[in-house]
């Protein structure tokens, strides 16, 4: 009986939080059109969310591309079709690894920082202070960060994929001797702009939306103590990773079919 009660309490709590999260999203979205007149606020946040994530995304993209090149080559060479290496590298990056790995890196680099920042602003009464100054923190603080995350993610994912393709090219063509012409021509022949590139961009936009939403809500909803903020930061990374991987399956099934 106690177990059932605990289960019920847990479920109710979770639904309540889910509801609060959606209301939060609604208010934030209502605050975004007003930002057109205050682009400076958004630019500031694109810097801390996007520009500061650039290094980790570029380096990771390079290495992921190089690993794909190496693994792909070793598998394909057995079938004598190492020219298809570029297709393997490009499709894996553009369809899956670009959006997904970028979103995971984003959660660790930018998402956790957003949560900690908002949580600490709450803990140090900065949000309450703004409210008392008749400034809505959802519009002034949260909405610009949301927009910045949503804008930055597809750009970061595109950079990740592009750098990754060059990483694969470096290993395949530079080190393992795949023909340079075949590398690029096979890729252009097999990678479709709408099917692969556009779908990849849509994926990363969805991930950007969700990752930023989770990070901001966790910060805004955090218990305003140092322990509460640290818990919220952890939750951001865990929940974002789960949400991104789960959504990736759903989106892949919708876009590329097969289910």
């Amino acid at each position: 009986m106690d177990t059932l009660q605990n289960l019920g309490r847990w479920a109710l709590g979770m639904f309540e939080r889910l509801g609060r999260g959606h209301l939060f999203l609604l208010y934030v979205l209502m605050g975004t059109p007003g930002l057109l007149f205050r682009l400076r606020l958004v630019v500031q946040q694109v810097y801390s969310v996007g520009v500061l994530s650039l290094l980790i995304v570029t380096v990771s993209g390079l290495f992921v591309g190089m690993v794909l090149g190496l693994q792909g080559y070793n598998t394909l060479v057995d079938f004598g079709s190492e020219e298809a290496l570029s297709v393997v590298v490009a499709l894996s990056l553009v369809r899956e690894l670009g959006p997904v790995v970028t979103a995971l890196l984003f959660a660790g680099r930018a998402g956790s920082a957003l949560t900690a920042e908002i949580g600490l602003m709450k803990a140090t009464e900065q949000l309450a202070g703004m409210e008392m100054m008749a400034v809505d923190p959802l519009r002034r603080v949260v909405a610009p960060r949301f927009l910045a995350g949503f804008i930055s993610m597809p750009l970061l994912a595109a950079i990740f994929s592009a750098v990754g393709v060059f990483g694969g090219w470096f290993v395949g063509v530079g080190l393992l001797g795949v023909d340079d012409g075949a590398f690029w021509s096979q890729m252009t022949a097999k990678v479709d702009f709408y099917e692969d590139i556009v779908n990849g961009v849509i994926k990363s936009a969805v991930f950007g939306f969700v990752a930023t939403w989770i990070a901001l809500f966790e910060g805004y909803d955090a218990v305003p103590t140092s322990e509460g903020v640290s818990r919220a930061t952890t939750r951001t990374v865990v929940h974002t990773a789960l949400a991104v991987l789960g959504l990736d399956f759903v989106l892949t099934a919708l876009m590329f079919g097969g289910v």
Binding site: Y47, A158, A162, T188, F193
Partner: protein, 158 residues
């Protein structure tokens, strides 16, 4: 707001790099650069079997890409597949009796339409149909034929 210049330059670089990456993915990695938005002319052909041919499969003549498959349909009177292909405008001197066959690139590669020029002095134009076609080779049928002929050889030798 302290270093607003640094911030703005950084964001500028970031957005430019992101757009450049997208552009590179679109033009260099994907086939967007090979689209010439229906500027060519369309010809159609009937096949008994198209095998694994799909929309956007290449159409080649002497190995050169001259167009792409733009549509695949089914003719319910002849029970044949109708393939429409879009030929790039610069290849406007294909003889009217050109034949089309469905070929495979390599042993397990993708399928494409190969065009063989005929000797007609008139040229194919928009809406024409290629009369001479050869269907895709289906591996099972070839293997079946091979076994059948072997069996016949065996029977004849006895």
């Amino acid at each position: 707001m302290l270093h607003s210049r640094t911030v703005e330059i950084g964001v500028g670089v970031f957005v430019a790099a992101g757009l450049a990456a997208l552009f590179m993915l679109a033009m260099k990695v994907s086939n967007l650069s090979t689209f010439k938005a229906e500027s060519g002319y369309a010809v159609s052909a009937h096949f008994d079997n198209i095998g694994g041919l799909t929309v956007r499969s290449p159409v080649r003549m002497s190995g050169v890409l001259v167009g792409r498959v733009s549509g695949i349909g089914f003719d319910s009177e002849t029970y044949q597949a109708v393939v429409t292909m879009n030929i790039d405008p610069q290849y406007d001197k294909l003889p009217a009796d050109t034949s089309a066959s469905i070929l495979t690139a390599g042993l397990l590669g993708e399928q494409y339409i190969g065009l063989d020029p005929g000797g007609d002095l008139r040229f194919l134009k928009d809406g024409d149909e290629i009369k001479l076609t050869q269907s895709a080779l289906v591996l099972e049928q070839i293997v079946g034929q091979f076994l059948f002929s072997k069996a016949q050889e065996g029977a004849a030798a006895e």
